[in-house]
Symmetry: C2
Subunit: 202 residues, 2 copies
DNA sequence: CGATACATGTAAGAAGTTACATGATTGT
DNA sequence: ACAATCATGTAACTTCTTACATGTATCG
């Protein structure tokens, strides 16, 4: 018997849903225009290796194009086939900026530290060191909280399982690494900030 | 018919495709029988938090049941509703062991360090310290290689982007943490191993 | 000549998320 | 009375993976 779906059927008005891969591509295209193959290579060659399959990249690019966030400029590549050279559009730039402008929320951070790092890595585009520092501070505080929680779990886990305990140790060491990195990064950003301002003053 | 190919080894002969979540559940159920709700709680409460949604856990459990890897024992929980208490079956135990017995392959490790940690955390079940050490050694070597590759990328990235560089630093620090942890874990396992053997000799 | 790099795609499906539905029991 | 916890599930959707198809150009 089919359920009488009463609510939720009118969600058409906002086509602005962009996936993480979408933002990753948007950021890369903003930094320098490229075709799908070149973008894919970035994922293959760098630690962004998560999203590398053609079955993910090409559909994602088409979706961005359909949303008007990038524009294609069909040229002929080194092969006879037409190659689509992508550039970011004005709405694309706005969408990307809006995404970057958001301070990370706790749930987001807990959900994926990597995704936060991706967003952070694009923050050059905002050119706002104060925001970057704020971003990192929020990030660090949440990760620290995660680390403290994990400590409680570790305590409860005493002697339950050797390998389980070791795995938790690894998780803990990792969280600590994120915290330390964030601290160092904040310090570096602050240093640069003051250097900039003193240069401005001079 | 996209999938009729020979997959090199005919391990199970059954349609034995088990997802990562499937193995995670299988391992938990092996450690102690539980119902879906309790298993879900584990994911919510611990760093295995990845797979916590009911829409993932319940279908996965049903699939494992259909594959005969776990057996359900319908009792009445604290509520009036029947609660399915799951136990691992003999084939389930065999499947889990076969999974644990595999040394991690390079592609697997590169694909997800977390997945490797999950597998490692269940290695108590094998009770084979020599294998655990081998597991960690392979893991560490691959992670070290990843770290060296990343160094090359970092060098190429010099001065290209401040935030990009910082993000790469984080990735590098993380990989190093994995390497250090693996080294420590290997040492601890070796210590225990020699203690065991000397106790056996005595 | 064969392999590899360039370049784009599709078809089929595995897997997970969100958001809802159900319903009893216990606590406030 | 209302909320939370226990306990199980479904429907619709999005996303990514796997595996293939299609070509040219270039290098050894």
């Amino acid at each position: 018997m089919p359920r009488a779906s009463k609510k939720k059927s009118s969600v058409g008005a906002e086509p602005s849903s962009v996936s993480t891969l979408g933002y990753a591509l948007l950021g890369l295209v903003q930094m320098s225009p490229a075709n799908g193959y070149q973008l894919r290579r970035v994922f293959v060659d760098t630690p962004m290796a998560r999203y590398s399959s053609p079955g993910a990249v090409y559909p994602a690019l088409r979706k961005l194009k359909a949303q008007g966030l990038i524009v294609a400029d069909v040229t002929l590549g080194k092969t006879g086939r037409p190659a689509e050279h992508y550039q970011i559009s004005r709405p694309g730039r706005a969408t990307l900026r809006a995404w970057l402008r958001r301070l990370p929320e706790e749930a987001e951070i807990r959900g994926s530290l990597d995704a936060m790092l991706l967003r952070f890595s694009y923050l050059d585009l905002l050119d706002d060191p104060a925001f970057s520092i704020q971003f990192l501070t929020v990030f660090r505080d949440v990760v620290r909280a995660m680390s403290q929680q994990l400590e409680g779990i570790q305590a409860a886990m005493r002697d339950r399982s050797l390998h389980g305990r070791l795995a938790l140790d690894c998780g803990q060491a990792n969280l600590q690494t994120y915290v330390d990195w964030a601290t160092r990064a904040i310090a570096e950003l602050r240093t640069r900030q003051s250097r900039e301002s003193s240069r401005g003053d001079a």
